[in-house]
């Protein structure tokens, strides 16, 4: 029995839209990433007593890969680290030198200052990093572990009040959660760049036409969306479908064609292409953060 529906062929205009979206913005190779690689090559990272389970070689490898391929930053399987991963992706892509200096400081000294944010992870976190297992590629991405766990430990929002201290398994709980204003704070304080925020954790953005607003904001800078992932990765197998945001993605492009939205975005270690209908698009977005490019 044929369960894959036979549908109308995509017309030529639609195909062009898709192809345009599929062009990776490889022109966005930043001169700063070359400088960052140069700094990394010249840095002498020695075994840190603060992070006993992280070797300099593994750290160096992950840092190099992140600078060369920020799109491969992966939040970890079954974790609530999407906010930290999205933030790290932005920091690596647009301020790679600052990212590098922060991580190296954090590793060598056990503490670092990134912009206005002091990072001084607990001994428990420092002893944990490098020992996790079962989280997919995050298991071998020690620089990402170091940064995600540090951010979760040090940057708190109202969602984390109920569970401030790390316990084993907390990666997937409210301890690691990021709400919209907490994400904005991470960007403002650490990237030290103007940020515009629309929407919230409960109420959707009041910007009129979301599509037109997003297109306009993409011309102003980089756009991060706080979305309900049940509409990004939908399934009617859900028993409950709570109308709340659960996930951060970095939007690259959005095109509308015959009532369907074609989006090009980043999450989970990939640049991703997807289509969604009007209803899904309307229910998807809770928060829109614009980071002005000129100040990066």
């Amino acid at each position: 029995m044929n369960r894959i529906s036979h549908c109308t062929t995509i017309n030529l205009t639609g195909l062009i839209c898709i192809l345009l979206l599929c062009i990776i913005t490889s022109s966005e190779v930043f001169a700063n990433s070359e400088k960052a690689l140069d700094i990394l090559d010249k840095s002498r990272i020695t075994q840190s007593s603060h992070w006993p389970h992280v070797t300099p070689e593994d750290l160096h490898r992950n840092l190099q890969e992140n600078i060369l391929h920020p799109e491969r930053i992966y939040q970890g399987s079954a974790t609530n680290f999407c906010g930290y991963a999205a933030f790290t992706y932005l920091l690596v892509k647009y301020q790679p030198e600052k990212y590098l200096v922060t991580i190296i400081d954090l590793y060598q000294n056990g503490t670092a200052v990134c912009g206005k944010q002091k990072l001084q992870p607990s001994k428990e976190i420092r002893n944990l990093v490098g020992t996790i297992a079962g989280k997919g590629k995050l298991d071998i991405h020690v620089a990402d572990q170091l940064f995600f766990y540090t951010l979760a430990d040090q940057v708190k929002g109202y969602l984390n009040i109920a569970d401030k201290k790390y316990d084993p398994g907390n990666e997937n709980t409210i301890w690691a959660a990021t709400n919209l204003k907490k994400f904005k704070r991470m960007v403002s304080n650490m990237m030290e760049t103007p940020v515009i925020l629309e929407g919230g954790d409960i109420l959707r953005p009041e910007v009129g036409n979301n599509f037109q607003y997003l297109q306009h904001q993409l011309e102003q800078g980089k756009v991060v969306l706080f979305v309900n992932s049940k509409y990004l990765y939908p399934s009617r197998n859900y028993i409950f479908k709570l109308r709340a945001p659960t996930h951060f993605i970095v939007l690259h492009k959005i095109v509308k064609h015959e009532g369907t939205y074609f989006i090009d975005y980043w999450d989970y270690g990939y640049n991703t292409f997807q289509a969604m209908d009007k209803k899904m698009f309307r229910k998807l977005i809770f928060g829109i953060i614009t980071i002005h490019t000129n100040s990066l």
Partner: protein, 184 residues
């Protein structure tokens, strides 16, 4: 009436996951082997995850992973002609239809592949989902009941490490279950 129905759903859904997963695995053992065999064959040509997005299994979603990009084609959202698109990625649509039929018959919703790491080397695992967890998840992603099938047998030491460090529970030497948010 609605409250009674909700209570029944909650009670059934709250049945201990290991029993539910073990029961599902034992009842559908042969179908699951067919699904895994076909999926492995297709995956060799092009890595992908695949499943149904609705209870009637009318719509499908396929996530294709190339080295630089991930493409998600969800037929519930747009009238993608998968017969035209999938061959461009080297996916045999006839074999994929067969996979869909096997999954439909055993009520599996999603199949994908994930990696675990042993001494820095990737150990691949096929994941098969058969239902969503009833517990509402505010501010975090929906979780699913998932069976995991390591491609290569894990040694005892690695098994113990993984079972200790992550929310994975063995059913037998070659199958485990977990609760996960779509295998990402």
């Amino acid at each position: 009436m609605k409250i009674k129905l909700l209570l029944i759903v909650c009670i059934v859904s709250c049945a201990r996951p290991v029993y539910r997963s073990q029961q599902f695995y034992e009842e559908n053992h042969e179908s699951i082997q067919n699904i895994l065999h076909l999926y492995n064959q297709l995956y060799e040509h092009q890595p992908f995850n695949f499943g149904f997005t609705d209870r009637s299994h009318r719509y499908v979603s396929i996530e294709i992973r190339t080295p630089n990009k991930r493409y998600i084609f969800n037929t519930a959202h747009y009238s993608f002609n998968l017969d035209t698109i999938l061959p461009k990625f080297g996916i045999d649509t006839a074999a994929l239809r067969k996979l869909a039929v096997y999954m439909h018959l055993s009520d599996c919703t999603w199949i994908g592949r994930q990696q675990f790491f042993k001494n820095g080397v990737a150990e691949e695992v096929n994941y098969l989902s058969f239902g969503a967890v009833a517990k509402p998840s505010l501010f975090s992603e929906q979780k699913f009941y998932v069976l995991g099938f390591p491609i290569h047998a894990w040694d005892k030491e690695f098994q113990q490490l993984i079972f200790k460090k992550s929310n994975i529970t063995p059913i037998n030497d070659s199958v485990f279950y977990t609760i996960s948010n779509r295998f990402k």
